[in-house]
Symmetry: C2
Subunit: 377 residues, 2 copies
């Protein structure tokens, strides 16, 4: 796996500028890369902190990238996981939030942290009917906050949502309506005196709809009353499939030039192993090397080992199938292709590509490796 | 991820006995687990060596499990990979084979290894039309062997095939016919004096058809003239889906009692995070924790944190969807289920579950952790 440093740096700047221009704050989802060196670059560029999906991921971000603002966009469940968080928040420099959506979880957190004379800060998760986690209505969210208000060891710090599980028609409108509901719920929490923090958190957004969430947070004035955290993750590597398409929609909604957006930074390279029949190429790349759930890998370029540096064509090349360690590629029958040729593939999407690798080659535009980044999955 | 030691030990003994009883030899495919501690157990139980899929996997098996017989069931392509193998075969104790199916690859291997005064031993891969890698006919295979005979630095050591890419009707008969073709090709190599080794290798079989391959190798007498290597990989952990079904077919073909077979050794445990709607449960297990390409995870058992050790029901529980870090489970609407309950899931299949983990808990039948095994993906 190769990360192109220029594109990576561009994407980090791009998203930070997007957020800064709107007066919002950025907590990039770290689950995408789980690469401490990338977390450090995101923080240095101005991110408020890092979002994570599990307690173990939070610990890795804290220990290996020095991240002190940790937004765990997930429920904290299980004594082992709570013990990890207990150790993190024992550091007075750490700000940590997790989400809650159930009475049982609130009671378990209260019991665990009160017994340690600690207080865990939680965000009420507001979901959507038929969606994933989260309270299904503002009433349910407020009732949960009222319960928390009576419990030791736990404190409401704001509201969390994730618009990525909303599907169907009229998506921009429905996502805007969902963002508005998050804002109304956060406002209601404050009005009822149910949050203990001065500036409650309001947070949503993956890498496909952050523009709609950002518009809601800015136009409503939520950014001035709350700490408005956007948490896209995939933007940092971008991709050649799912997020390329989603990003084109974002740029269109923003009336931006299609050339002014994110740049795909992630490639996976593989050799051609076999050309057993005319038009059929087998490459040494499989389900263990690259994501395959949204799209199959996308051939980008090709070069010949021992040849000059000029790229060979992959026009008309299509990955038609993938196994654990191999991919099948249909190529034009008269293609000048040889066993040993090296193909660079784009992926769709990045989260399930990063997690295949323990080390990633960080390369300049001439594909000279400048560093190896370590992942912490 | 939890490996049940009793089942693991049973499966290692079971397959070794299967192979021993037939006068064959075992080179378990190590790509499944990439767990050196398991490789050591397989070798100690009597395996001839370990099969691997890449040069880097071979190096890991050599360095971290002391494996000296390495069957790389794949083409060796690229100077970087050849350099890894060059270092391995510099050890006089190492026996290493890779597969070849093309003139270009033969020339590249010859050039690389002759320049180092080394000889790489190769198996001619015999494939099937419309399949994956491999020569498409015996004639093509023999022509390639004749070329190798004229090249320095490379030697034919036998024939390799993989029946797992054959699909369609009449599979047992077609796989038997394919095995017979492998045998005929190996015999033809010997007759024409095209192999340089005393006991040429003949090898095939994944974890779904080793009984048919074994029958062909024994009934034809191939086992007496050649080194007959079976290379199933998934059997060692077995599973609750793809290979449970394939194994039931194997036991039926062997006229064995269905209770006398392999035991599923692999489980992935997760907490229930949310019960946002009646009948909908969200668990903290996702595409990053368990395979999802053949079947979605299969709920096996459940227990309650802080409760007694008795298992709670998962009758009627079905995983209906999976995201990166979460799974959706449909449960009976009146189920006694709580956030914090721990669910053990079976997987389908093992290769794409092992590769999600850097450490695996090896547990006894009471689920006391006896050791943590390190994977080397």
């Amino acid at each position: 796996m190769v990360l192109r440093e220029k594109a990576l740096a561009h994407n980090i700047r791009w998203m930070q500028r997007f957020v800064d221009e709107r007066g919002l704050a950025l907590a990039p989802h770290g689950k995408t890369t789980m690469t401490p060196a990338i977390f450090r670059r995101q923080i240095e560029a101005g991110a408020w902190g890092i979002t994570l999906a599990t307690a173990a991921q939070c610990r890795a971000a804290y220990r290996e990238a020095g991240v002190r603002h940790l937004l765990m966009a997930n429920q904290l469940v299980g004594a082992g996981n709570m013990a990890i968080v207990s150790a993190l928040i024992a550091d007075p420099e750490v700000t940590y939030y997790c989400t809650v959506d159930s009475v049982d979880n609130v009671r378990a957190l209260s019991h665990f942290f009160a017994a340690r004379n600690q207080t865990v800060q939680v965000l009420i998760e507001l979901g959507v009917p038929g969606g994933r986690c989260g309270c299904r209505s503002q009433e349910e969210a407020l009732a949960l906050a009222e319960l928390i208000d009576t419990c030791p060891g736990i404190q409401v710090a704001g509201v969390e949502g994730y618009e990525g599980i909303i599907h169907g028609d009229d998506l921009p409108d429905r996502i805007r309506a969902y963002a508005d509901e998050l804002i109304a719920t956060t406002a209601a929490l404050v009005e009822r005196g149910l949050t203990a923090v001065k500036r409650p958190v309001i947070t949503a957004s993956g890498s496909a709809w952050y523009d709609v969430i950002a518009a809601a947070f800015t136009e409503s004035g939520a950014r001035d009353r709350f700490l408005p955290l956007l948490r896209p993750g995939c933007y940092v590597a971008h991709d050649h499939g799912l997020y390329r398409r989603a990003h084109a929609d974002i740029l269109a909604r923003l009336h931006s030039d299609p050339g002014d957006g994110l740049m795909p930074a992630l490639e996976v390279w593989a050799h051609i192993h076999s050309i057993p029949e005319p038009g059929l190429v087998v490459a040494g790349i499989g389900k263990r090397d690259i994501a395959y759930d949204a799209d199959l890998p996308i051939p980008l370029r090709r070069c010949r080992a021992g040849g000059d540096d000029s790229a060979l064509s992959v026009n008309g090349w299509t990955v038609t199938g993938i196994m654990d360690q191999h991919a099948f590629i249909a190529v034009p029958a008269d293609e000048d292709v040889r066993v040993g040729d090296i193909v660079a593939f784009g992926s769709s999407h990045p989260c399930l590509t990063f997690d295949k690798w323990r080390f990633i080659a960080l390369a300049d535009e001439n594909f000279r490796v400048k560093d190896y980044l370590t992942t912490r999955f």
